[in-house]
Point group: C2
Chain length 330, copies 2
């Protein structure tokens, strides 16, 4: 491993001058600059990031914290962030918190020691109170996750509208007995609350009262979807449509319905959330609320890089549009 000293020796100059060339400082003659560049080339030299970090330098690395990488939603989100960051010369490190608060905090600690220059959080397990202190070490951007906190940049989707449109679509299809099956709790803050509001509003506008038996919370997986459908089928008074919080849950329900010979959407209509590739593969094809993950990831990368370049960049909240993709399950 060539060091800055090797470059200095080979070019017959001092470390200082070499460092100036590396960091594009003023006051270096064109002559020496080319000399240094040649030496760097020859030695296949590039600066040791550990040393730079120790000096508190930026290193064009941004961290992305995801809860679970096996969740395709996050995989696509990370991919979008990665692509956008790479275009701007930034490297991305992906960290999986596994929904573990301690792990999440340990990732945030990377900011303190400049392991990463900034962090994009695609979910937030700890209270914002616990996360906030880290913002003084580098920019933190929330992406997809939503909290009521104007001091942090947030890129998110209009979950309220997404849910509202989804429910409205079901109502337009003639459904009035609409179940609601989501991750998160019904009373929670942020993203889930917005979704709940969307559900309530759409139902309210149609003059439908919500049946609490048809509310399922904290459901996330394919298995959850299967169970919920079983439950629903056993009800005396059963809903004719189910709004779900993710394509996984919806796919689980459809798989179970196919298993039991239930007709979708004839016997029961199902709408998903995300628009994953999966949605087009199952039969019937899944009607779903499309989340523009790519745009969201791209925007998040853009926002954090802006803040990296300009510490005082304005703190904005971005809300991206969301739409219903109608296929065959409703």
């Amino acid at each position: 491993m060539a060091t800055i000293m090797d470059v200095a020796k080979l070019s017959g100059l001092s470390k200082t001058t070499v460092s100036r060339v590396i960091n594009n400082h003023a006051y270096v003659s064109e002559e020496k600059r080319t000399l240094v560049l040649k030496a760097m080339e020859e030695l296949d030299y590039y600066p040791n990031p550990a040393a730079r970090r120790l000096r508190g330098q930026l290193t064009t690395t941004i961290g992305v914290v995801v809860p679970k990488i096996i969740n395709p939603f996050f995989a696509y989100l990370v991919d979008a962030i990665e692509q956008a960051a790479y275009k701007n010369g930034y490297q991305v490190m992906i960290f999986q918190s596994n929904e573990d608060r301690t792990k999440e905090l340990s990732f945030l600690n990377l900011l303190k020691t400049k392991q990463v220059d900034g962090i994009i959080m695609t979910a937030i397990e700890n209270d914002w109170k616990a996360v906030e202190p880290f913002t003084k070490y580098g920019p933190i951007v929330l992406c997809n996750e939503y909290i009521n906190e104007p001091t942090v940049p947030i890129v998110r989707l209009d979950q309220f509208k997404g849910t509202y449109l989804g429910i409205k679509h079901l109502i337009e299809k003639g459904h009035r007995k609409i179940a609601y099956c989501t991750g998160g709790l019904f009373a929670e803050e942020g993203k889930d609350k917005d979704r709940n509001r969307g559900y309530q509003k759409a139902m309210g506008e149609a003059g439908i009262t919500v049946n609490p038996n048809w509310i399922f919370v904290d459901r996330h997986t394919i298995e959850d979807g299967k169970h919920v459908l079983k439950n629903v089928l056993e009800m005396d008074d059963r809903p004719t449509a189910v709004f779900t919080g993710s394509d996984e849950i919806a796919a689980g329900m459809i798989a179970e319905a196919n298993e039991q010979g239930i007709d979708i959407p004839g016997d029961i209509a199902i709408i998903g959330f995300d628009d994953q590739p999966l949605a087009e593969l199952i039969s019937p094809k899944l009607t779903t609320v499309r989340q523009p993950v790519d745009q969201m990831g791209e925007k998040a990368a853009e926002v954090i890089i802006n803040r990296l370049h300009d510490e005082n960049a304005e703190i904005c909240h971005y809300e991206l549009p969301i739409e219903v993709i109608v296929r065959q399950s409703t």
Copy 2:
């Protein structure tokens, strides 16, 4: 950010002693040790990794390079590695190469500067000749990818057997006109070659000659699957079964078949590879060759951590078993 100096001051001892405590060195009195530990606790101190790295220390971080994180196969693999590493006190950094040789090399460079202590590669874009020089900076373990090189630890699946069993299953179902649709090229080294050998062997044993028109290479995506099925359907002499190299391709084919009203497996049987959750969600449910990703990831983590603890640990190649999961598509 508390530094080692702060801890030294607070405990009334020298940096040296503090460092000794941190690194569990001998010759520290129990009395001072507790003093130091208390100070560390009080200051919420933990060593700056950048400084440690600069001194060439290990930092319990392993890097995992994947080609595409949106590929569920790799997402699950990474997840398995992450879990296993975390249990052993190791942190995992995920890097996406996007099948870009330059990017892959830039990740390997992290080894040089001790950004990561070791690297697990789940794919290899460059020639081994280009990768090999990096092994002197830290352990590199190949996971899933297979090359003919005894100097590097490899954890992989028995692709040969997997394919052989898959084809054999089709033959047992009475098929003799079997198409083969895979990623990779037909003549390539490593993983793909093994699969090809498996196909050839199973066909050979049944006395079937391979029809070159039924060989599709370099197919990876859902879209590819749709196209291949279209092609197949237009053939005068069409195969009655298709062996595919991934569940995505297979799912794409089945989606297209459903679209066109083709009966699976009646008109054409399809077998996948991987056994992703997807396989159980589509209808008909996908018969597929199950790759034990979890085991593979776990093993890879174990192998690299072993080598991290003991530089001279034996270099082994592990081959994990693989089996056919029969569902409805064959």
